[in-house]
Amino acid sequence: MSSPTPTPDPASTDAPSGASDTESSGSGSPRAGSPQSVAPFSSSAAAAPGPLAPDALAAMESALAAEQAAVWAYGLVAAYARDDAAMITENRSGHLLRRDATAARLVAGGAQPTPPAPAYQVSVNVVDVPTARQLAQDIELDAAAAWRVVLGSTDDPELRGFALTGLSDAAVRLAMWKRVAGATPATVPFAGQA
C-alpha cells in the first residue's frame, strides 16, 4: 500500500476535463451502514462505471489489496479481542462488501482483479487484546490511505464517490478502534494522509 500521495497541480481550482461526462452515482458502493456516511454528491442518476485510466487502475488495485488484507486480518483480531466481537464482525463485513465491490468495479473497468493472498504479514505481533486492537487500527489506516489515493487518482465523479465512501468508512472505524483502545486523539485532521 505504498501508492503515491496526490500532489498539488498548477490548475487545481479547475474542474477536471470531462468530469461532467460522467454522472455521479452511488451504484456499486457498499455502505457500511454507518450513520456518519454521506451519499457522495447527488446520486439521483445512476451511471455505468467507465473504463479505468492507468492512474486510477493502479490505485484501485492497491485499494483492493488493502481490503483483501483487512478481511484476512480481522480474523486474526477476532482471535484475541473477543470482547470486541460485535465490532469486529461489523467491520469485517464492511470490508468484505467493499472488497467484492472493488473487484467488481475493476472488472467493469476492464481489469482483472488479483485474487487475495492465502495469508498476510501483519504490522504487529498479535498476542493479546491491546495488540489485536493495534492491528485493527493499522488495518483501517491502510484502508484509509489506499482510498485516499484512489480519490486523488481520478477525475471520474463516480469513482471519486466510491473512493470517498471507502475512505470515510475506514476513518470512522479507525476512530472507534482508537476510542476502544483508549488512544488519544481518536481522530486525525486528514483521514488517510500519512
Binding site: T5, P6, T7, P8, D9, A11, S12, T13, D14, A15, P16, A19, S24, S34, P35, Q36, S37, V38, A39, P40, F41, A144, R148, V149, L151, G152, S153, T154, D155, P157, R160, G161, A163, L164, L167, S168, A170, A171, V172, L174, A175, M176, R179, T184, P185, A186, T187, V188, P189, F190, A191, G192, Q193
Partner: protein, 170 residues
C-alpha cells in the same frame, strides 16, 4: 445670449459625461478616454466557502470549550483537527492564489475564542458541534466532485475526518 447658450451646452455635456461614467456606458467614450468596458471580477475560488465554514466551526468549538471546560477532553482534539484543516485549506488557497494571499494571510489561522456565543448547555453545545460536523461533511463531500485531483483528495480526507467526528460525538 450666445455665451449663455454655449455654457448650457457645455454644462449638459459635462452632466452627460458624469452620468455615463456612473452608469458605465457612454456615447463619447472614445473621446474622453473613460473606460466603458471593465474586466469582470475574477471568479472566486470555491475553496473560500470551505475556509469560511471551517473558520466558523473552529470559533464555535473554541466557544464551547471555553464555556464548558468539562467537555474539553472531548472537544479539544476535534478543535485541533478543525484548526489543522483550516490551516491546510488556507495554505492551499495561498498556493493557488499567490496574488490574493494578503487577504488570506491577514486572517488568523486559528481565530481567538469568545467571538461566538456558546450554546446554553453542554448538551446543546455537543449537539451544535455535531450538527456543524454534519454540515461541513456535506459541504466537503459536494466539493469533491468538481475539484482537481489534489483538492479532491484534500476535501475527501477532511470529509472522512468529519464523519469520524460525528461518530465520536454520537
Amino acid at each position: 445670449m450666445r455665451r449663455r447658450t454655449f455654457l448650457s451646452v457645455v454644462g449638459g455635456a459635462a452632466a452627460l459625461t458624469i452620468a455615463s461614467t456612473v452608469t458605465g456606458c457612454s456615447l463619447f467614450s472614445g473621446d474622453d478616454g473613460a473606460p466603458t468596458v471593465v474586466p469582470a471580477p475574477a471568479v472566486s475560488d470555491p475553496i473560500t466557502g470551505l475556509i469560511a465554514t471551517t473558520r466558523l466551526h473552529v470559533l464555535r468549538l473554541e466557544a464551547a470549550i471555553a464555556a464548558y471546560p468539562d467537555q474539553a477532553p472531548l472537544l479539544t482534539p476535534l478543535r485541533d483537527d478543525r484548526a489543522a484543516q483550516l490551516a491546510g485549506l488556507e495554505a492551499e488557497y495561498a498556493r493557488v492564489n499567490p496574488s490574493a494571499t494578503g487577504a488570506s494571510s491577514a486572517a488568523p489561522t486559528v481565530p481567538a475564542s469568545g467571538q461566538v456565543a456558546a450554546p446554553a448547555s453542554p448538551e446543546a453545545a455537543i449537539s451544535s458541534i455535531r450538527g456543524d460536523a454534519a454540515t461541513a461533511q456535506v459541504q466537503f463531500t459536494d466539493a469533491v466532485s468538481n475539484a482537481s485531483r489534489y483538492r479532491a483528495a484534500l476535501y475527501g480526507s477532511i470529509a472522512a475526518t468529519l464523519a469520524s467526528h460525528r461518530a465520536i460525538l454520537a
